[in-house]
């Protein structure tokens, strides 16, 4: 995620989000953008769309062929626009920004919880309730296990990182001691 591509992607994401809210197709757009961004990240597709031998019309055709009926008329328009502006590469960024806008409007946030050991359902519920209170949003939790943490949990919600892991504490102690 580069700073400059974010700047380029923002107007697209905002426009798509505006259009999606108007036509009440937030989830549909979400699916389409997910598909498109997965597509341009595929090595073969990426090679094809950056191939200078291909003309714009061929690129559009290629994208539409692969997506088939997953893209509606507006989705096809977006592809055409992006090809014409030479911005197919920023699709993953557009998708990420769009998801952020969507979450914000729906009052939800994606939270990643990394723990050293698998948590019980009870623990997860407690954590989810506490996070919901702290962040003041509906949360969608994705959990992960990483034994390198030694103990405790590490919670990521956007930029915010709550580090309650043993690894984090040890690192902090090391910094305090200047080693």
């Amino acid at each position: 995620m580069a700073g400059e591509t974010t700047t380029i992607a923002r107007p697209y994401a905002e426009a798509i989000f505006g259009r999606a809210s108007e036509s009440d197709k937030l989830d549909h757009w979400s699916d389409m953008l997910g598909l498109l961004s997965a597509l341009v990240q595929d090595a073969r597709v990426a090679a094809a769309i950056s191939n200078p031998k291909l003309e714009s019309s061929q690129r559009i055709a290629l994208m539409q062929d692969i997506c088939g009926e997953h893209l509606d008329a507006e989705g096809q328009n977006l592809v055409r626009l992006l090809v014409r502006n030479g911005r197919l590469g920023v699709l993953p960024e557009i998708a990420a920004l769009y998801e952020g806008l969507k979450n914000e409007s729906q009052g939800t946030i994606d939270v990643q919880v990394v723990s050293a050991y698998e948590m019980t359902q009870d623990q997860e519920d407690k954590l989810a309730a506490a996070l919901k209170k702290r962040l003041d949003r509906d949360i969608r939790v994705t959990s992960e296990i990483n034994s390198e943490l030694i103990g405790g949990v590490l919670i990521r919600a956007g930029d915010l990182v709550i580090d309650g892991s043993v690894q984090g504490r040890l690192r902090k102690l090391a910094t305090e001691l200047g080693i």
């Binding site: 995620m1 580069a2 700073g3 400059e4 974010t6 700047t7 923002r10 990521r156 956007g158 930029d159 915010l160 990182v161 709550i162 580090d163 309650g164 984090g168 504490r169 902090k172 102690l173 090391a174 910094t175 305090e176 001691l177 200047g178 080693i179």
Partner: protein
């Protein structure tokens, strides 16, 4: 670094006491690009300007550019172990350095970390490097002198406590020498000194520290060194760090003296950082805020009134004013004072000591140009006796230089012109002073008195230096009471004048030079 075992365990003990294993919630970002010590970081949405950022591997950076989608930060120190994709954390603190008495006698880097191998710094307090200068209400006018121990400066361009006096000149004209002499002369006066070396050779800094140690001046001095090998970011923050250390003394009702050696190199370092951060370049490729870079630094050198000292110390120190006197140094190229940075700093400071390569090469050292050197507030703060005796020296010297240039073409001169030329020649000789030999007020007064009262008129111009040396040793050995009186009272009256007349007559009658 040499550490004794008790120091290590003490350190660990204190750190363990302080250590609070709280769960930390901080915002995190990712390095997107890393070029020449500048990191562009994605994320960190709530980073503050000048906030310290924590990079992996105990490395810190300074957030300078806050943009919509990224943060531009300079990395303080080595950055080769960092790479794209590393995570960066906010610390929620602006950059701070340790302050206090424990720093005296030490050599530290821009972050206040010791680099002299004498173990950790004993300082419990820290303070932000960027602070706002005292306002109008908190200030007091400058009316006490800072004695530099150099005749030429104390007589012609006197400096007061809380003043900013620029030392400007080409390379190799003795700029740093003046500053070092001023530090040495503060021994025993209670004035604490901070010497900030920016972009100098490490060997030069080591030489300065050794000289200060030799003259017993290190006990009241802090040396902040950002050498040429340090990153540009460290060079550009060094003066602010030094200023914060000096302000500690000012805010406690003491007097401090800070030397920025030199601000030209700091401006270069800042220019480098700014260009790498892609800020638009202006005149001479400096960024738009290079004036503010120096003005906000030099405004912090000030004298504050007793009420403010009382307020800052919560009533611990009463009835004492505090001051921070600054000697910024600027190096010119080929004597060009109209370049960008020199004109800026000249306009900010309360006067300048202008050093000339021609004078230096013709053996007049310190090579002060009497015509161009001024002190805008120092007159009010000058020692009374020096003010009385040295009052006419600057004007006389400036006139002499003009007359001397003119008289080269004249074949025969009238009596008064010839006299003026001869007097000027001797005063020029008298203003010479070797390095590392600051003079006391009494010695200075004796020299100036001899010149004013015509005791030098029958001394050959090339013997004036020897005459003065003999006079000083005579004053030291045979006129102790008088010297003592002048040094403590620093007042000039008929009685002192008579004693000086007697002393000089006795000296001229009975001594050789």
């Amino acid at each position: 670094m040499q550490l004794n075992p008790s120091e290590i365990s003490d350190l660990i003990k204190s750190q363990i006491e302080k250590y609070e294993p709280e769960t930390e919630a901080r915002t995190e970002g990712t390095i997107v690009s890393l070029t020449d010590g500048i990191a562009r970081i994605h994320g960190l949405a709530d980073a503050m300007s000048y906030e310290m950022l924590e990079f992996p591997g105990n490395t810190f950076g300074l957030a300078l550019n806050l943009e919509r989608d990224s943060v531009g930060a300079v990395i303080l120190g080595p950055y080769t172990h960092l790479s794209e994709g590393d995570s960066v954390k906010c610390t929620g603190r602006v950059l701070e350095v340790p302050i206090g008495e424990g720093l005296l006698g030490r050599v530290v880097d821009s972050l206040g970390q010791p680099i002299d191998g004498k173990g950790p710094i004993e300082a419990t307090e820290t303070s932000p490097i960027e602070k706002v200068a005292p306002g109008v209400i908190e200030r007091k006018s400058v009316d006490q002198p800072v004695q530099t121990g150099l005749k030429a400066i104390d007589a012609m361009v006197p400096v007061g406590r809380g003043q900013r006096e620029l030392i400007i000149g080409d390379r190799q004209t003795g700029k740093s020498a003046i500053a070092i002499d001023a530090i040495i002369n503060q021994k025993g006066t209670g004035v604490k000194c901070v010497y900030v070396a920016v972009g100098q050779k490490a060997s030069t800094v080591a030489g300065v520290v050794r000289k200060l140690e030799e003259h017993g001046a290190m006990e009241h001095t802090i040396v902040v060194a950002a050498t040429a090998a340090d990153s540009a970011a460290l060079q550009f923050i060094a003066p602010y760090s030094g200023c914060t250390m000096g302000e500690y003394f000012r805010d406690r009702g003491e007097d401090a003296l800070i030397i920025y050696d030199d601000l030209t190199k700091q401006a270069w370092a800042y220019r480098q950082v700014s260009l790498l951060l892609r800020r638009p370049p202006g005149r001479e490729a400096y960024p738009g805020d290079v004036f503010y870079l120096h003005s906000r630094l030099l405004e912090r050198a000030s004298r504050i009134n007793a009420e403010e000292v009382e307020r800052i110390t919560n009533g611990e120190v009463k009835g004492k004013t505090g001051s921070l006197t600054a000697f910024p140094i600027i190096e010119t190229q080929g004597g060009d004072v109209s370049a960008f940075v020199p004109t800026n700093v000249i306009s900010i400071t309360d006067g300048q000591i202008f050093l000339e390569a021609d004078l230096f090469n013709s053996g007049i050292r310190p090579a002060i140009n009497a015509g161009l050197s001024v002190s805008r507030v120092g007159g009010a703060a000058q020692t009374k006796i020096i003010k009385k005796l040295g009052g006419g020296v600057r004007l006389a010297l400036a006139q002499y230089r003009e007359l001397a240039a003119f008289a080269q073409f004249a074949s025969d001169l009238d009596e008064s012109t010839r006299k003026q030329l001869e007097r000027g020649e001797r005063v020029t000789e008298l203003m010479k002073q070797p390095q590392y030999t600051p003079l006391s007020t009494a010695e200075m007064a004796a020299s100036l008195f001899a010149a004013n009262e015509g005791y030098l008129d029958d001394v050959e111009a090339n013997r004036v230096v020897a005459f003065e040396a003999a006079l000083h040793s005579y004053m030291k050995s045979s006129q102790q009471a008088l010297s003592e009186k002048i040094n403590t009272e620093a007042n000039f009256n008929d009685e002192v004048a008579q004693s000086l007349h007697d002393a000089l007559k006795d000296f001229k009658a009975n001594h050789t030079w």
